[in-house]
Symmetry: C2
Subunit: 241 residues, 2 copies
DNA sequence: GATTCAGTCAAACGTCTGTTTGAATTTTAC
DNA sequence: GTAAAATTCAAACAGACGTTTGACTGAATC
C-alpha cells in the first residue's frame, strides 16, 4: 500500500502505444491488412500519424505487434496445458479430445475476455491465416512452428495407426476448419441466426466444432487405390463428363 | 472443314478482354484483391490501362468477372451432377459420399484443366472466401445461395437424425476446411513436401479431404450439457486457469 | 537551472492508386 | 469507298498511401 502504482508500463508513452494497438486490432480485423490505412488507425486512436513509425517502425511491424500481443501468451498457454494434461494422464497417451481441448481452451479464454481483444482478435487471426502477404505467412509460420510440432507429436501418439503423411493432411484440414470458423463474418451471422438465446456463443461454437474435427481425425484411411470403396468409385467413375 | 473458325468470341476485342481476365486471375490469386493494382494487371496482360474500365467498368467489376467466368459453369455442373445422382439412386436418399462427390468432381475437373484456370483459380476462390471486402462477400453469397441450399437439403436427407442447426454448422465447417485447403499456399508446399511422385496431386488432396469431412458430418451429436462426456468435461473443468 | 531525451506534432516527401478524358486508330457496316 | 461504331492509346486527374523530417513539448538527470 502506498507504493507507486504502475498502470501498465511507462505511464504516458505506452498509453499511446496501447491505443494504437487497440485501434489497429479493430481495423485490421474489419478490413484486413492492405485495406486498412495508417491514417484510419491513428485517427481512431486519437494519435498523431507519425506515432506509428516512432513506436513500431512500419505498418508491417505494427501488424506483427498486434498479433504477437495476444498470440504469444495464448500459444504458451496451449503448450502449458498440453504438458499438464500429458502429466496427468501419463503414461497413457492423451486422447484426441484432450489434445483438442488443449488447443481450444486458451482460445476460448481469449475469446471471452473483451479486455484482451476477445473474439475480434480470433477473427483477425483467422483472417491472417488466409492472407497472401508473404511477411504474414512467414510470421505465422515462425510463431506456430513450435506449437504445431508439439501438437502434431501428441496427435501422432493418440492416433498411432495413422500414417504421418495422413496426419499432416488432417491437421491441415483441422486448421482450415478452425481458421474459417474463427475468421467468419458468416460465423457471426450464423451465431446470431442459429443460436438465439444461448449464453456462451463462442463456447457453443467450438464445442460443436470439436466433435466434428475429432471424428475427422479418427476417420478410416482414405482409399487411394484406383477403384475401391464408394467414395473412390464415385470420384473416378465420374471423372470424364 | 472450310467452315468459319471462331477462336473464342469476337475475334479481337475479347482477345484483350481475355488477356485481362487471365492476368487478373493470376495476380489476384497471388496477392489478393487489395494488393493487386490495375497497372500490374494491364502490364502483365500487355494492354492499355484504360482497357479495364472500358471492358469491365471498375476494378471490383473486373474481380467479379474473374470469379464468374469459372464459378458459374462449375456450380451449374455441381447442381446437374447432384440431380443426376439423385435420379440414379431414387427413391433412396443419396449417401454423404455421393453428395460430396457432386461437390468435388466439378472442382477437380476445373483444377486439372489448365486451359480454364486450373488449380490457380481454386486458390483464388478459397482466398475470396476469407476476404473481408463487403462486395466480395455479397457476391459470393449471391452466387452460392442456390447451390448451398440444394446441397444442404441433400445432406439433410442423408443425415435425417441430425438437427438442422447442427447441419448448418457442420456445412460451415466443411466449407472452411475446403476453402482453406484450396486456398493454401501451404497446401502447395504440403503437396510438394508430402506426396512426391504421386500423379494427380489435386485429386489425392481432395480424396484425403473427403473421408475427413464425411466422418465429421456423421459425427455423434455434440454434448452441449454442462458436465457430460469427456470433451465437455475437459472444456469446462479447465475453464478457470 | 541547464541539459538531455523520449515523445508528440504539423507538414511535407515522393509514389502509387483507381478513374476519366479526348484524340487516334481500327474494325464493321453499307 | 465512305460513314459509323468500337476499341485502343497516352496523358492527366485528384486523392490516398507509407514514410520522413525538423521543430516543439514536458518531464527526468545532473
Amino acid at each position: 500500500m502506498g507504493g507507486k502504482v504502475i498502470p501498465f508500463e511507462t505511464p504516458k508513452s505506452s498509453a499511446t502505444q496501447g491505443r494504437i494497438l487497440d485501434a489497429a486490432e479493430a481495423l485490421f480485423m474489419e478490413h484486413g491488412f492492405e485495406a486498412t490505412s495508417l491514417r484510419q488507425i491513428t485517427t481512431a486512436a486519437n494519435v498523431n500519424l507519425a506515432a506509428v513509425h516512432y513506436h513500431f517502425g512500419s505498418k508491417e511491424d505494427l501488424f506483427e505487434a498486434v498479433l504477437t500481443r495476444r498470440l504469444d501468451p495464448m500459444n504458451q498457454e496451449r503448450l502449458a496445458l498440453l504438458t499438464r494434461f500429458e502429466h496427468e494422464w501419463a503414461p497413457k497417451p492423451l486422447s484426441c479430445e484432450k489434445i483438442l481441448a488443449a488447443m481450444f481452451i486458451p482460445a476460448l479464454k481469449l475469446a471471452r475476455d473483451p479486455e484482451r481483444g476477445g473474439k475480434n482478435f480470433l477473427r483477425l487471426l483467422g483472417r491472417a491465416y488466409a492472407d497472401p502477404a508473404p511477411f504474414i505467412r512467414h510470421f505465422l509460420s515462425d510463431q506456430y512452428a513450435v506449437v504445431i510440432a508439439r501438437f502434431k507429436a501428441a496427435f501422432g501418439r493418440a492416433l498411432p495407426q495413422l500414417p504421418k503423411k495422413e496426419l499432416s493432411w488432417r491437421l491441415h484440414f483441422v486448421m482450415g476448419a478452425l481458421s474459417f470458423t474463427l475468421a467468419g463474418t458468416d460465423a457471426l451471422k450464423l451465431i446470431a441466426a442459429l443460436s438465439r438465446g444461448e449464453t456462451a456463443n463462442d463456447e457453443m461454437l467450438l464445442r460443436r466444432l470439436a466433435p466434428f474435427l475429432i471424428a475427422g481425425l479418427k476417420a478410416p484411411l482414405p482409399d487411394l487405390s484406383e477403384l475401391d470403396g464408394e467414395a473412390a468409385a464415385a470420384f473416378l467413375t465420374q471423372q470424364e463428363r
